[in-house]
């Protein structure tokens, strides 16, 4: 059986989820109440039978390290498999801090792996993908590198901080370029690469020796003419978390149960760390509609078109509309929130109204007391 080492890359330097990212890496951002963004790529690997997974992180690693723990929650064989957290040694915010330098810092670990192939996945994308299938497709095609993409007809409005693949008719990749929002139909790059491990190591070393500022994507883009690089289309739900707006929009899109069902498949579980919270208590006066509610909450107010993470308290008369509320937030009596992302451990008691717009959602900083 062909096997691959799973590598989960950190967010590129183009990615900036304003606010949320100040406290944790994108992979560690709370998502849809009970998940973290990184649960999706890790579950994809685990469900594909790939149980050796390297997760790369560079700054603010606490939240991610805490969430991953031993990795047991991801249903990985505890002897044969391993979830490995690897750190980039570069300084914060350095221009030279990119994925290639992180791989170079840890090249021994990659060289010592016994897998023939590697699959590199992004920690900022929400989708379901059988990587085993993708690996088989890659091997069968004989290509040097396979890149996963998602076709959209909404690239003028969505995925504006993503990269796109330019493909020829044979699905050969001509280039990887930023989505400039100039056309509706685009192939959004899912940040997923499949290749032989020896090629991967060779490319990292070459890229590193050529320019310390190259990222893996830059190098693959340069190689488009020299190598056989092909695109494979992803089907199903696809969401990106590459800036604050896309975090908000991707979250909100999954409030719709039908949309959620296109991502969550009972045969393809998304694993996450349990917090052992009790069920949620709905008190007299609670009015909850069209929302996603996690465990451990106590609700006495109104919630409409919103996502409530674990352990939140919504007091009497409070109104939460079109909001994403992260864990352990307290919304005081008669407070009105609209189009806002509220970070962890926030308490809102004295300010009675916080509003953003659907185009420019607001953000309340982690741990703030308003």
């Amino acid at each position: 059986m062909n096997s691959a080492l799973g590598i989960i890359n950190f967010a590129s330097n183009h990615t900036k989820v304003t606010g949320l990212q100040d406290y944790r890496s994108v992979g560690a951002i709370s998502f849809l109440g009970r998940y973290r963004v990184i649960d999706f790529p890790i579950s994809n690997f685990s469900n594909s039978g790939m149980e050796n997974i390297h997760v790369y992180t560079r700054w603010k690693p606490r939240s991610l390290a805490e969430h991953l723990g031993t990795g047991r929650q991801y249903n990985i064989n505890s002897k044969r498999g391993r979830l490995h957290l690897l750190f980039a040694e570069d300084e914060l915010d350095s221009l030279y801090s990119n994925d290639i330098s992180a791989y170079m810092d840890n090249i021994e670990v990659i060289e010592n792996s016994c897998h023939d192939y590697v699959i590199v996945a992004s920690s900022c994308m929400i989708f379901k993908q059988d990587f085993k299938e993708l690996l088989d497709q890659h091997i069968e095609s004989g290509a040097d590198i396979t890149l996963l993409y998602h076709s959209t007809d909404n690239a003028k409005e969505q995925f504006l901080t993503c990269q796109t693949l330019e493909l020829n008719r044979q699905k050969g990749v001509l280039s990887i370029t930023p989505n400039r929002g100039t056309a509706k139909n685009r192939q959004i790059f899912a940040g997923t690469y499949v290749m032989r491990r020896d090629l991967f190591i060779d490319m990292i070393k070459k890229a590193h020796n050529t320019s310390a500022m190259y990222s893996l994507m830059d190098w693959v883009n340069l190689m488009c003419n020299e190598m056989d690089i092909r695109g494979v289309a992803h089907r199903g739900y696809f969401g990106s978390i590459t800036d604050f707006k896309s975090y908000y929009d991707t979250s909100m899109s999954l409030i719709d149960l039908k949309t959620a069902r296109s991502l969550f498949d009972p045969d393809w579980p998304i694993y996450t760390r349990t917090s052992d919270s009790c069920p949620t208590q709905y008190l007299e006066g609670a009015d909850v509609k069209a929302s996603v509610i996690s465990n451990g909450c106590r609700i006495e107010g109104t919630i409409d078109h919103s996502i409530l993470s674990r352990g939140c308290i919504i007091k009497k008369g409070a109104v939460v509309k079109n909001c994403v509320i992260l864990p352990d937030v307290v919304i005081g009596e008669d407070t009105v929130l609209e189009n806002v992302v509220v970070d962890k451990h926030v308490r809102i008691n004295h300010i009675k109204e916080v509003k953003g717009t659907p185009e420019h959602p607001g953000y309340v900083k982690r741990g703030d007391h308003l």
Binding site: S277, P279, T280, Q281, Y282, V288, K289, V292, I293, S294
Partner: protein, 379 residues
């Protein structure tokens, strides 16, 4: 963590026949409670939170689900070195025939070798049938302070109900002078909670003698406690204050679930310092539909609610279709209630489907209706 000074043994062999169909396939300790838990999560979580590392679970009746559930000790964090949850059904031994557990004391007697293997100073014996949060370490401190040979946890019950319980009569220092099982004229209202701490060496001696006694019922309440009292051993009553409920019948199981809806609830399961641990399911969060109405309810992850839920407890993965109504009811995991169905004062067993437009239970029934089979709707 330090060496196991006290080892816990949980008696989980009972069938719980008054729970009817709920215990057809699982033993009573594996029955669901509180939206996501099983009854046995309470004593095991209490053990884990009290710093007890080794827990033996004595199973007998319909033990497959209970065994596999309990064997995964990681759920309660009891998977470090020198710790674990051990499932102990009756075993065939070299020097004895395979025998069922003949009584609560016999269940311990048959596992003397297991307990000796850990060499504990004290043995905590628990029942797997009750819902409560208790720090057994505090009880052990009390036991040591009083230099007791055995300590029994007691709870004050209303005097008029005392004749339903095993009653401990104590002197003013809390020393037990008499034990009466369901006395017609109770002298005190201190009911035994079925939680005992014994000095292991002494109990071991008593159990060995009890095994040979052909007259004995091999029961803690009927034989061991009276024998200790007759022997003038020092038995102390440890008064527990707090929520404690035997969920032996459908009505009492329903009632105990309903207690969780109250605000503040008499049993707070949200306390981060004393969590009750249970299996985690890979469920989505709760999805609440556009026209849902929910008030006064206790709901777990994985539920999809498009209808109305009032004064009810919903376990993992229940689905309530539009126009359906759930009132004063408890829905075990993965119950499906189709459009327009109305469920009132009922307890619905795992995975049961209530068809569209069906009416189940009634608002003025004396007892809670148990629904354990599919109810057809108007098809």
């Amino acid at each position: 963590m330090k060496h196991n000074e006290m080892l816990a043994m949980i008696l989980a062999g009972g069938r719980g026949s008054r729970l009817h169909e709920l215990t057809n396939k699982v033993a009573k300790p594996a029955v669901g409670y509180g939206g996501k838990y099983r009854i046995i999560d309470f004593p095991i979580s209490n053990c884990a939170n009290s710093g007890i590392d080794v827990v033996g679970v004595l199973t007998q009746y319909e033990s497959v689900i209970l065994n596999s559930y309990v064997a995964a000790g990681g759920r309660w964090g009891l998977d470090a070195k020198d710790s674990g949850v051990f499932v102990l059904p009756p075993r065939e031994k070299a020097d004895a025939n395979l025998d069922v557990y003949r009584g609560t004391a016999d269940a311990i007697s048959q596992n003397i070798d297991f307990i000796d293997g850990f060499g504990p100073e004290y043995l905590l014996v628990l029942s797997g049938d009750h819902i409560y949060k208790m720090d057994y370490d505090k009880m052990l401190s009390y036991h040591k302070e009083h230099n007791a040979d055995a300590t029994i946890a007691v709870i004050e019950v209303p005097m008029k109900e005392a004749s339903r319980f095993g009653i401990m009569n104590t002197d003013e220092d809390g020393r037990i002078i008499e034990f009466e099982e369901k006395p017609p004229q109770p002298k005190s209202n201190l009911a035994s909670m079925g939680i005992y701490i014994f000095n292991w060496k002494l109990l071991r001696k008593m159990l060995v003698a009890d095994m040979k006694n052909t007259e004995s019922n091999h029961d803690f309440g009927k034989d061991i406690i009276p024998a200790l009292l007759a022997d003038e051993r020092k038995l102390m009553a440890y008064k527990f204050k707090g929520y404690w409920k035997d969920v032996g019948t459908i009505d009492s199981l329903w009632e105990a679930n309903m207690d969780l809806i109250e605000a503040p609830s008499p049993l707070d399961l949200s306390d981060p310092t004393w969590k009750i641990y249970t299996e985690d399911t890979n469920s989505l969060p709760q999805y609440i539909g556009e026209d849902a109405k929910i008030s006064h309810a206790y709901i777990n992850q994985g539920c999809v609610i498009e209808g109305e839920v009032r004064n009810s407890v919903l376990f993992t993965g229940s689905r309530i279709a539009p126009e359906a109504k759930i009132i004063d009811s408890v829905l075990m995991p993965n119950v499906i209630v189709e459009e327009g169905a109305v469920v009132t004062r009922a307890l619905i067993a795992d995975g049961v489907r209530i068809g569209a437009g069906a009416v189940v239970g009634s608002p003025d029934s004396e007892h809670i209706e148990l629904i354990s089979k599919r109810v057809k709707g108007d098809e």
